[in-house]
């Protein structure tokens, strides 16, 4: 199979409220940063994929409103609604299709302009779920309870994820919430929905990220050393939350297995050097790591306590600060991807980890992790 690589990344700073920027303004900033990073001009871009959600944007066909600022005039533009990693997946398949060689992928969200709980409530079934008030936090609180019940993971272990990730964010100038906090601070923060405290939850955020994906025939033509896609997979589980085993993420285990197989990764615990995973809520980092085989079943909390996921540990997880430190929902996976790309290139700045040859990126879409997209990125082709 032909190979693809990520050859440029650009992100706005993640902020609570980008009041001076429209969606298009954010796209303009991220796209130009990605082009500069790649050493490309818009003429070098063959096609564009934008990623957005009409509900979050408060309008239909939200992708078309950012086309101009994303350089899509006179080019083929398409849109993906879901996490940014899904836009990147589609963008990669386009770059591999033979029709295009380079794809510019963007993802944007402004959580600040709406009432988040109403937006996430609208993702649920209008007949059985929505009118009861089910939203992202309610769903994830129940998933957290279910995960803790099955694995005996403790509230302290959940809190430690928050401590680690907010601490890592102190080294990432793009992060919204760099904080030096303690486990006690997390446990004393307001109980939002048992067992989730306020500091177990990611914030409402605004931001836009862009990545440029190239076919191998042109991947080395530009400024950056390419970061190669070694494996990628994308799997979905049942729509109704109640159909799933809430304490698990079957579709993530499948996606990870397929991505490892494609990448030729046999022992992920040893072969993955750095990972950025979706930590919209503290428990999710631990649950996802277990489902991807990066920790034994019910043992992620213990690995965390031993410092193994710290910036200087054997498997740094969310060295950028993760989504707990800034969560522009749709763009989230592209921020994670850009963070791993920078790790592998060795230009992650303050949050650079020591060994970063092979990295893992996980993007999530659907509440409580209905579907997952797993990428294995590598310095070597």
């Amino acid at each position: 199979m032909d190979r693809a690589a990520i050859i440029g990344v650009g992100m706005t700073k993640i902020e609570k409220r980008k009041i001076s920027q429209t969606f298009a303004d954010m796209a303009w900033e991220a796209v130009n940063k990605a082009l500069t990073d790649a050493g490309m001009t818009l003429d070098d871009i063959d096609n564009v994929v934008t990623t957005s959600s009409d509900f979050w944007d408060g309008r239909t066909i939200s992708c078309m409103a950012v086309g101009d600022a994303s350089g899509a005039a006179h080019k083929n533009i398409s849109c993906v609604e879901g996490d940014g990693t899904y836009g990147a997946f589609y963008g990669m398949t386009r770059a591999l299709s033979g029709s295009y060689r380079t794809t510019l992928v963007t993802g944007h969200t402004k959580g600040s302009e709406s009432v988040s709980s109403l937006i996430t409530n609208a993702a649920f079934d209008p007949i059985y779920e929505r009118s009861l008030g089910m939203d992202m936090i309610t769903a994830c609180a129940m998933q957290a309870r279910s995960y803790m019940h099955r694995t005996k993971t403790t509230a302290e272990q959940l809190a430690l994820v928050s401590v680690k990730n907010h601490g890592n964010a102190l080294k990432n100038p793009l992060a919204q919430l760099p904080m030096k906090i303690t486990v006690e601070d997390v446990l004393k923060s307001e109980m939002v929905a048992d067992p989730l405290h306020k500091l177990d939850c990611s914030p409402v955020s605004d931001g836009c990220a862009a990545v440029i994906i190239a076919h191998e025939s042109v991947a080395e033509k530009f400024r950056q050393k390419p970061v190669w896609v070694r494996g990628v997979s994308f799997c979905a589980d049942s729509f109704f939350f109640g159909d799933r085993d809430l304490s698990r993420a079957r579709s993530l285990a499948q996606a990870a297995r397929k991505a490892y197989a494609m990448a030729g990764v046999h022992d992920p615990k040893k072969e993955i050097d750095v990972a950025e995973v979706s930590d919209a809520f503290t428990y999710q980092e631990l649950l996802w790591l277990e489902e991807m085989g990066l920790a034994d079943d019910a043992a992620a909390g213990k690995r965390l306590e031993r410092g193994e996921f710290n910036l200087d540990g054997p498997l740094p997880v969310n060295a950028s600060g993760g989504l707990l430190s800034g969560h522009p929902v749709i763009a989230a996976g592209l921020y994670s991807m850009a963070a791993v790309v920078r790790q592998i290139r060795g230009d992650a700045g303050g949050f650079q980890v020591q060994k970063a040859k092979t990295g893992l990126v996980q993007g999530v879409n659907g509440l409580g992790g209905q579907s997952h997209c797993v990428w294995i990125l590598d310095k070597d082709k």
């Binding site: 009432v115 109403l118 609208a122 059985y128 307001e190 159909d243």
Partner: protein, 154 residues
């Protein structure tokens, strides 16, 4: 240059009315609750899984389901949360009184979980695995609100 001014335009009270079809499975499900206080699930002919709420297709097997089976009305708590944060009621736009319990119920005879409110008067009794029963609304109209909540009967 003058100080930067950021203008905001609010959507106001604009709404987008919508008429959702409940469909043949949901219509029978709600009519049964309204008229007989009974819960109907539907069984996959291939894997045997009993789904609630009922729908036409088993996603795992990709086959049509036609076997209706009665489940519950009693069951156990699969998982739950207690909402303590001031939420907006999507039905009315008003603040919802907190705290309130929300959970997934596994009806006797069902393989999937059904979500609804859980009465939290005796919070100590709310736990995964606790037995519950539904409390129905006095006046039932054929919607999810025909059940008021579930209560622990342990």
């Amino acid at each position: 240059m003058a100080e930067k001014e950021n203008i905001i335009i609010e959507s106001g009270d604009a709404v987008q009315p919508f008429a959702y079809s409940v469909g043949m499975h949901g219509s029978r499900f709600f009519a049964e609750i309204r008229d007989h206080k009974r819960f109907l699930g539907i069984k996959c002919p291939k894997c045997g899984k009993v789904y609630i709420p009922p729908r036409g297709v088993c996603g795992d097997c990709f086959v049509e389901m036609k076997d209706w089976v009665e489940v519950g009305p009693k069951g156990v708590i699969g998982t739950f949360t207690i909402l303590r944060y001031a939420f907006i009621d999507p039905e009315t736009g008003a603040q919802k009184p907190v705290p309130y319990g929300y959970g997934f119920i596994r009806f006797d005879g069902a393989d999937t979980l059904f979500q609804h409110y859980i009465n939290i008067e005796d919070e100590a009794k709310i736990r995964v695995g606790a037995r519950v029963e539904p409390v129905f609304a006095g006046e039932r109209k054929g919607s999810i609100r025909d059940i008021e909540y579930f209560r622990v009967i342990d």
